[in-house]
Symmetry: C2
Subunit: 378 residues, 2 copies
Amino acid sequence: MKLDKTRAENLPLVREALGFGQVGSAARHPVWFMRQAGRYLPEYMAIRSRMEFVDLCRSPKDAAEVTLQPLRRFDLDAAIIFSDILVPCMALGQTLTFGKGHGPQLAPAMRSREDFRALKRPDVAAELGYVGDAISLTKSQLAPGKALIGFAGAPFTVATYMIEGGSSKEFTATKAMIFRDPALFADFMKLLRDVTVDYLLMQVRAGADALMLFDTWAGNLTPDDYARHVWPVTADLMATVRESTGVPVTYFSGQGSDRILELGRGAKSDPATRKAFDVLSVDWRVRIPHAARLVKEAALDVALQGNLDPQVLIGPEQLVRERVRSIMEEVHAARSAGLIHGHIFNVGHGLLPHTPPEALSWAIDEVRKQSAQGASNP
Amino acid sequence: MKLDKTRAENLPLVREALGFGQVGSAARHPVWFMRQAGRYLPEYMAIRSRMEFVDLCRSPKDAAEVTLQPLRRFDLDAAIIFSDILVPCMALGQTLTFGKGHGPQLAPAMRSREDFRALKRPDVAAELGYVGDAISLTKSQLAPGKALIGFAGAPFTVATYMIEGGSSKEFTATKAMIFRDPALFADFMKLLRDVTVDYLLMQVRAGADALMLFDTWAGNLTPDDYARHVWPVTADLMATVRESTGVPVTYFSGQGSDRILELGRGAKSDPATRKAFDVLSVDWRVRIPHAARLVKEAALDVALQGNLDPQVLIGPEQLVRERVRSIMEEVHAARSAGLIHGHIFNVGHGLLPHTPPEALSWAIDEVRKQSAQGASNP
């Protein structure tokens, strides 16, 4: 897939705006927040009061509106398209519902070879075209200099929902498949990889400037199971999209984002790992200095993203500013020591519905202040 | 607190039987399983069919019976007293119930200074005497050479349940307290520390040969919050009990057990950390070689416990044996390299209700086989 000339020429600007390996040249330290469009914003709730969540994902006009809401309120450097990592499961033939008081539910659960055969092999552009339309619409309304991020769930994380039939604590059905029928699990991961490649390419075609892959539950596996059953297909997915589009890719593995770096350290010569991503998004359980050290040891040419505990935003202004300052100082030190190239300020996991919107203003203001004072982009 | 002469003389035997730093002299590689007494055993379900969970915890005769059940079925080296980490919350004045389909519920939730003042300051020996009685009764029926382990929830993990009023995913109320009223949180942790010290001393007095502290949710905090608000009081608790009784103490911090080791590495000279525990129980997210390396770097004189993913036990026999063998080989290598002294084979988290009992037999058999072949205790 080739980007048209204008977009190809704009790529370095996007990389710079998002702080990917452009130390010193970026005008400012990029900042955005995972789930920055969502339930903590009254203007989002106003739209949700008249439509269901899934319908909102499917309505390009409303999804674009919701995507842009936080950029009207806050001084953010990027928008991330409003959608859900489980949207592709519908194209694969499952029904997606969000019940009150419990999380997403997918039916029928994908548990057997028979279930696997029954899944649709979707024409992504046709079935998920509404996501592309939402991206195009958002892009046309987005101020110049702001990046638009497309995203997908990573195959493992999406697989857990499809196999369990929803959220899970113990991932019993998923692990039962990995341990009892690894060939079926591998085939399923391969299908999800293929669908996700198509899905992300479509998003870039529609106008996404950068991509992010969410592997929220990857941290629940043993490092060996992750290395064997998850990482190779995930790395291949990202490398394929990166090589095909030139668009920067961010990988987020929740609940211990240093695992992937431990893996990287053990696999310095693994070309797939080296080509897989531009940015590693780290959760708050990992210290930035620790992640930066591992990035260096693995000789990975990546930037870091993160990693404010989103719950810090329920604290008083002084605490919010202290915690932001502390992350900015850690980033500054890691950059000065040559451990990492770039950094994108973000939370270590999605914003929560009870987040007070003003807390984001304090955090962003503190990022700008620290950035101006040279705590970043030294 | 002084142990009587016989028990004091027996301590080295317990240490040896449990593999705490007695490389080469232990007759065999110790093995037990977290939650080895519980719902996966039909004989446990038979007792539960006639009484509620909380009543079972409160009945010394039944608790002792349930504690001993897995030792009749399996070749285990230790029993762990059947109880629940939330039992002390009742002595503190909360009502504990286990509803169908959801986890434990504690009422009223402990959210304010007023709630804190309203908590009882319990006479632990009087209010939780039934746990001591269950330990004495179990001890009198336990075969010689088998260790009896007492336990408690760590202050942070117990605090989360008491503050949230039950289980939690995001720990919003807990973090709100830490971030908005750290003085109240510190006072609460101090109260839980004091109650837990009394509770564990009582368990040793009643006959517990070793102790374990479960900090299941500690991994949800940022490393800095853990280091500031949780570890000092937790380390002090364990050091106090250890020094007072001489009984070995195991610390389990779930969801990334290497965090405590990262901390240890940064605090080599911290005397509280050095005196806090004898064994670190690691979950399955951490590789044994990684944990062993961190133990060495922190110059901690501890053994490791763990770390089979309990879900592996739903796999076929060959897989169970492979995974056990792999852990035993890692332990062997770490011991040969002088990184760790001892090791206790265990799961990385409690056994799950759907575990097939025969899988434990395979795992134990493989531990014995590997141990005999010199994969351990070289």
